[in-house]
């Protein structure tokens, strides 16, 4: 890691710079969709927002906690590998994967109930945005889980050391971003 940094003009490792560039494009992707939702929610007569009782706020709140917790366990996994403690790194990484899996399971349950209650992707403008935004987020969570599983596998092969753990760091940045997006989606879709 330190060698790689010394070799770049920016003083930032290529992996990290690449990850941040990718996250910058992700900010614009979600930002574009969220801004479209906010604008249409403010000004479109076709945006019929379902009553709160249909939105399942307690479940969504639980899901928010699951994702926030997985973000903390991810950063603790990074701290563990920086200390060279592989066992603890794997334990925290498993907790992170657990948080992500819980999130996806709850989301699947939520989708099924919303669908049964008539909130579908083609029911109205709100339904379109709800499934597009949360669906895109679910795709990101799923991708993150594959990434975590890879890290777990690479960790068992002894590929990470306190001096070399770029991949853990970059995967962590991605996972925190996924958490951050949900922190914005939760109030604008469920609470407002």
């Amino acid at each position: 890691m330190s060698t790689a940094i010394a070799e770049t003009n920016t003083g930032i490792s290529n992996a990290k710079l690449g990850t941040w560039s990718f996250l910058a494009s992700e900010i614009m992707l979600f930002g574009g969709l969220i801004s479209a939702y906010v604008i249409l929610r403010s000004g479109s007569a076709h945006m019929v927002v379902p009553p709160r009782s249909m939105m399942g706020i307690p479940l969504a709140t639980f899901n928010t906690f699951a994702l926030i917790t997985s973000s903390v366990t991810m950063v603790l996994a990074l701290a563990a590998i920086q200390e060279g403690n592989i066992a603890r790194f794997q334990r925290w990484l498993l907790c992170t994967i657990g948080g992500g899996v819980i999130f996806l399971c709850v989301k699947a349950y939520e989708y099924q109930h919303k669908w049964e209650e008539g909130i579908t992707i083609s029911s109205n403008l709100f339904g379109s945005f709800y499934y597009t935004l949360t669906g895109l987020h679910v795709v990101h969570v799923t991708g993150g889980l594959f990434l975590m599983a890879y890290l777990l596998w690479a960790g068992t092969r002894g590929e990470f050391t306190p001096e070399s753990h770029d991949r853990v760091e970059c995967a962590g940045l991605y996972w925190h971003f996924v958490d951050l997006v949900w922190v914005i989606l939760f109030p604008i879709l469920y609470l407002l």
């Binding site: 003083g11 930032i12 910058a24 900010i27 604008i39 950063v75 920086q82 306190p162 925190h176 914005i184």
Partner: protein, 139 residues
């Protein structure tokens, strides 16, 4: 990049910095995020005016984003290049939202000024008219 050359604000014990302090910070941030989440839900169930509810929810969401970005993503320890890249992206997203609002007949700045002037006029209405001066207009 924190501490130029040390990854991710890196501060491993082997690097001479106490890691437990960092872990404690993460747990405190987790507590703050949990409290803010409960606060968001609590505010949503309070009978506040819609505009006030929206503003409070967005302020709390912004605070959570700040905490995750600063501490979990270690932005506060990064250099100017990454911080500016993120700032530019956020500014562009804000432009996407704010610059389109007037087209919907929503003028946030004008409305804020109007509310402020109404509030000030209301405040003046409570005072008696100055001797020889005109009484404040009632609204």
């Amino acid at each position: 990049m924190s501490a130029k050359g040390t990854p991710h604000g890196a501060s491993a014990k082997h690097g001479g910095i106490d890691k437990s302090a960092e872990v404690r910070t993460y747990l405190i941030i987790f507590g703050c995020l949990a409290v803010l989440t409960l606060l968001t839900v609590g505010v949503a169930y309070m009978e506040l005016p819609h505009a006030a509810g929206v503003v409070i929810a967005l302020v709390i969401a912004a605070a959570k984003v700040f905490l995750i970005g600063s501490f979990f993503m270690h932005l506060r320890g990064e250099g100017k290049l990454i911080n500016w890249s993120v700032a530019v992206c956020c500014a562009l997203v804000l432009i996407l939202i704010v610059f389109v609002l007037p087209d919907l007949g929503i003028h946030p700045a004008e409305e804020a000024m109007r509310d402020l002037s109404h509030a000030l006029e209301g405040q003046h209405a409570h005072y008696p008219a100055a001797p020889g001066g005109a009484a404040p207009a009632a609204h």
